[in-house]
């Protein structure tokens, strides 16, 4: 879609201003139903679009992404724009600087339509934990869009943006992509700078793109990567060839691993059927399929949550009512006996944070406390090493690993929100990629019929560290074959 729009822009068939207006109009018409955005940036978007039109008029070469309207998850800072992370504690926070990914997108003249809804501080799998609003799944508004990047996914699926940025700590890009019929990429840990992303769990968080096609995701991704002095965990990008140029439509001879642990008897037979069909398609396209074992993956969820909770309790200590955000400083709203600084902390955080956030901060504080550290955090980091070893062994024999992205299609509102453990289980297939640090992509692999509707479900490809090329190429080949553009053998 991006390439097509780009061609129309440079040929003069459409202008960037008209394109932006078209998306703003869809937002105006659909937003009351979908609830994808928390803040709209109408004025600056049109200004940015005018600049692109002037450049085209002057005959300047513009980037593929120039003039293309996108949406940004509201835990990524844009200078001068309200950035809430979906929390009341940041209700009045105006970001003083641009995240590195925003600087990079601005440098290629991408357009920002607004900031999208998310579970508070990206903690959740349905966007129901947002302190602001519920976001609906545009494909069936009685269902959740997934989470935590549910607003970003809904904006693209609902035609309210061409692409969107999300963040993925345990599946927060891939799971909503699966639920909304989109492509979503979680890059290798370190591929994309986290500077300006409001941290949830720093050793897992990665920013990545949503799009309606693999090529769109590759185009946006190419413009996000690279080492950044502001993020010491970011990596050198290696080669400079844009990822969209790897999409050859040829996957002959590649080997796709299928972990036997992911296909237990408990797997929904409808999901199994779609997954088997996808594997058959890969085979027809010339790939080899091989069963592998990720024997420690059954421990992935407890390991993931122990580390997440620990990092959350540490990262969210900064929201203290002193430097920015909500500050409860009066005795009227206090439920504490003291009148010291401690009172400000306790009251601000009691009122400013939602329930799941408080629960995670307390759990993280507990598992890191003296006497429990070894049993929980240290133990989890050791099992994480074993999980990584599983992946290293698997990648000796296969080029990538395939599974469903989610154990089910989009669920209804309220189905899991009262039971944190149930909600955690929606991440069963996605968390291991974050634990191992490998790149992982979700793409629409088929549909499942429920209540007379065809609901999309995503397939997940996990690649070797820093080898996003192969999973993008494979998913693109699948997509083009699914659409009838490439013929199978």
């Amino acid at each position: 879609m991006i390439r097509e729009l780009h061609n129309k822009l440079i040929s003069g068939e459409i202008t960037a201003v008209d394109l932006t207006k078209k998306y703003l109009k869809t937002i105006e018409e659909k937003e009351s139903e979908f609830g994808a955005y928390l803040t709209l940036m109408e004025e600056s978007a049109l200004k940015e679009a005018e600049i692109v039109d002037e450049k085209i008029k002057r005959g300047e070469t513009i980037d593929l992404l120039a003039g293309i309207p996108g949406a940004i998850k509201d835990n990524i800072c844009i200078a001068g724009v309200r950035t809430t992370a979906g929390s009341k504690i940041l209700d009045n926070y105006i970001a003083p600087y641009d995240a590195t990914v925003i600087k990079k997108l601005k440098s290629v003249d991408a357009i920002f339509l607004g900031k999208t809804n998310l579970d508070e501080f990206a903690m959740g799998s349905s966007t129901e934990n947002s302190a602001y609003q519920k976001t609906k799944n545009p494909l069936d508004v009685t269902r959740v869009p997934g989470g935590s990047s549910g607003g970003s996914a809904a904006s693209v699926a609902g035609g309210e943006a061409v692409f969107a940025l999300g963040s993925d700590t345990g599946g927060s890009i891939r799971q909503p992509a699966s639920f909304c019929g989109l492509v979503g990429l979680k890059p290798t840990y370190g591929r994309v700078s986290r500077y300006g992303l409001i941290a949830m769990a720093s050793s897992f968080d990665q920013i990545g793109p949503f799009g309606t096609s693999v090529e769109d995701v590759a185009i946006v991704f190419s413009r996000l990567v690279g080492h950044d002095t502001m993020d010491a965990t970011s990596a050198e990008s290696g080669n400079n060839k844009p990822f969209e140029e790897y999409l050859t439509g040829d996957i002959k001879g590649l080997t796709i691993g299928v972990p036997k642990e992911y296909f237990s008897e408990k797997l929904d037979p409808r999901v199994r059927k779609v997954t088997d069909e996808a594997l058959n398609r890969f085979k027809k396209l010339g790939a080899n399929v091989k069963e592998i074992s990720l024997s420690y993956s059954k421990y992935a969820l407890p390991v993931y949550y122990i580390i997440v909770l620990s990092e959350v309790s540490s990262n969210l200590a900064r929201f203290d009512g002193i430097k920015y955000g909500l500050s409860i400083n009066d005795d009227e709203n206090s439920s504490e006996e003291t009148t010291t600084l401690l009172e400000t902390y306790l009251d601000t955080r009691r009122i400013g944070f939602g329930e799941e956030v408080k629960r995670r901060i307390m759990l993280g504080t507990y598992v890191l406390s003296a006497g429990y550290y070894d049993a929980y955090y240290l133990k989890a980091q050791k099992v994480r090493a074993l999980i990584k070893k599983d992946f290293e062994n698997a990648f000796k024999d296969v080029d990538m690993i395939f599974s469903p992205t989610t154990p089910e299609p989009a669920f209804h509102f309220g189905e899991k929100v009262d039971d944190p453990l149930m909600m955690y289980l929606s991440d069963i297939y996605t968390v291991t990629a974050n634990l191992a640090g490998v790149p992982a992509l979700s793409f629409p692999m088929g549909t499942i019929q429920e209540d007379g509707k065809n609901l999309p479900i995503g397939g997940q490809l996990m690649g070797k560290w820093f080898d996003e090329e192969t999973i993008l190429r494979t998913a693109d080949t699948f997509e083009r074959s699914y659409n009838g553009e490439i013929l199978e053998k």
Binding site: A79, G80, Y93, I94, A95, P96, Y97, Y189, G190, S203, A232, T233, A235, Y299, L301, P302, Y305, I306, S313, A317, K323, Y324, G325, S327, S335, T340, L341, L342, E343, T344, L346, D347, R349, R350, F353, K358, R359, I361, M362, L363, G364, T365, Y366, V367, S369, A375, L378, K379, A380, Q381, K382, V383, R384, A385, L386, P420, L421, L435, A436, G437
Partner: protein, 95 residues
Amino acid sequence: MLTQEEVQHIALLARVGIREDEREKYQKSLSSVLDFFHELEMVDTGDVAPIGHITGSENRARADMFIDADQGEKDGIRKNVPEMQDGFVRVKSVF
């Protein structure tokens, strides 16, 4: 199962105020998540070294140089501060 006193103590350590009538709710939900973690006791991690950085990146330091923020950024930071006095951030007394 955690006791309600433990929940109250954790909340204080975490600097999260919770009301007395919320203690039971947190007691239940925190305990159920902690129970879920006990599975890990079954894994033998005898001589396994814990993960530091997942892609094996070593400590990296930037040049020890002062980088000044532009005025807009500085103003933006100050504007977000709930209470300021004479250019300083004002807080309640510590004791």
